[in-house]
């Protein structure tokens, strides 16, 4: 079998009889943005939970960069280069904005106490480098004046932006974004979407869950429509848009 960069095969997931995923398969290339749409309870978030290792699938396989992800623990999958955001937005609220970003870098020498005590030079150097990069990133998105504020002091939109930034600095190549622009003001939506659109240029791929069709059409190369855990159709935004089943579902 010739494996794609991300290859998902026949995932099944049931919750006490409720079908969350059924024979779900798809592929993703590098530098591709795929939209995942479907009604409430379709299984979109469940798919993310399975991909990033929170929830074990009942059956099926996932290959990422030729590595089998199924049954790997979440932190290992993250360290392979899979980052995600959450529908209900997760950040560490009692630390500063800057600290949230610093937390997101992978493989920090200072996170190992042996290095902290015996190789402090190495740790300081890495920390300074990460700090610079974090500040540059914060400047780019106009959040630099909030760098030392508590994360809980940010507005909801700013928090959503921050959680996207955290995914970016982690250096992950696959970003799973669960409704990154739901419930926020139009200017912030524009800002976040413009960041997402730039991602393929940095060789990153994105799967984005979104209910707003305009957003999907704007940023996605390809769209997957799912319902009751099954993939119903897949294609360019225009193709999916004109699919009768999708139209019916959206009218209902």
């Amino acid at each position: 079998m010739n494996l794609q960069w991300l290859q998902v095969c026949d995932l099944n997931k049931h919750y006490n009889g409720i079908i969350a995923l059924e024979d779900f398969s798809f592929q993703l290339k590098r530098s591709e943005i795929v939209g995942l749409i479907g009604p409430n309870g379709a299984g979109k978030t469940t798919l993310f939970n399975v991909l990033n290792g929170f929830v074990p699938a009942d059956s099926g396989q996932i290959f990422f960069n030729n590595i089998e992800l199924h049954k790997k623990s979440a932190y290992k999958i993250a360290n392979l280069g899979v980052a995600r955001t959450f529908q209900d937005l997760r950040l560490i609220y009692q630390i500063s904005v800057l600290e949230n970003i610093l937390l997101s870098f992978r493989n920090q020498p200072g996170e190992n106490l042996v290095n902290t005590f015996f190789r402090s030079g190495l740790c300081k150097k890495a920390e300074a480098k990460n700090r610079d990069f974090a500040c540059v990133t914060l400047k780019k998105v106009n959040l630099i004046d909030k760098a030392n504020h508590l994360t809980s002091d940010l507005s909801y939109g700013q928090q959503k932006l921050l959680s996207l930034i955290c995914c970016l600095v982690s250096g992950a190549e696959l970003l799973l974004l669960d409704e990154p622009v739901a419930g926020i003001a139009p200017e912030m939506t524009e800002k976040i979407l413009s960041i997402i659109k730039e991602l393929p240029k940095q060789n990153k791929s994105v799967i984005i869950i979104e209910h707003n069709m305009d957003v999907i059409t704007q940023v996605c190369h390809r769209v997957i429509f799912m319902e009751s855990g099954k993939k119903i159709c897949e294609g360019t935004p225009q193709q999916v848009h004109s699919n009768p089943e999708v139209i019916e579902s959206y009218i209902n």
Partner: protein, 294 residues
Amino acid sequence: MDYITHILIIIGIYVILAKSLNLIMGFSGLISVAHSAFYGIGAYVSALMTLKYESSFFVTLLCVIVINSLLGIILIIPSFKVEKQYFLFITFAFQVIVFNTLNNWIELTGGAMGISGIPPLVLINWKILSRYEYLLLIGVFVFIICLVCGLIVKSPFNRVLKAIREDEVLALTLGKNIIIYKMTIFAIGSSIAGIAGILYAHYISFIDPGSFTVMESIFIISIVIIGGAGSYWGPVLGAILLVLFPEILRFIGFPSSIAANLRQILYGVLLVTFIMWKPQGLIGSYKFFLRNAK
């Protein structure tokens, strides 16, 4: 002067205990009522090794660190299966097991009679006899432990712990192996409590299980909470205040029998007051018991 030196030594020991519990509690968010068990293990291991085998200080120190690290790691393992709140019960069980072992394994520990005649510490050629020398030694240990804690506080390691105490799911998503972090901090915290035990045993020269009860753990928890969990100076301030508190009661003329009872009640009231109205403690910033507010 002897009295003041004694109080300072006791403060020093509680600073070490509170600092180490703060590593566990303030940084990882796990509440442990087993801290005095680790304190007691340090005291007993050192007392027995010195009495039976005439071990040198550094050998006992090493043994206590190894034993407490291992026990700390074993104790933390169930926390991966249960919710934070229930982890408290596991530490309680551990505390009870250790206390009962000390109390009932009479051939080894002397049971409720305890161990007396513990010889003073000898550091290479320095035999520590006077109170002033003890104060100096404890001062050195407080200094080193504060230094170690300071390094940990400022490190990216601590940043991950802060993340873990607030949201383990997110910490995992960011690729942090939370098992390793919790084990590390528990091993370090338990070892440092053991060191406080060594210092205490050889200073007092007599130990019994009564010094290492769950009440003692709660006293150390009070120091941390009232001072400010997760903060650097909070446990130091808490230790000074709570050790001095009964002395002040005595000083202003309460008979000691009343003062002892009053003390228990007041500690309880203080602890509850702080948890409810000032969960960040006197000089902390982390609201320990508060539900996550978004």
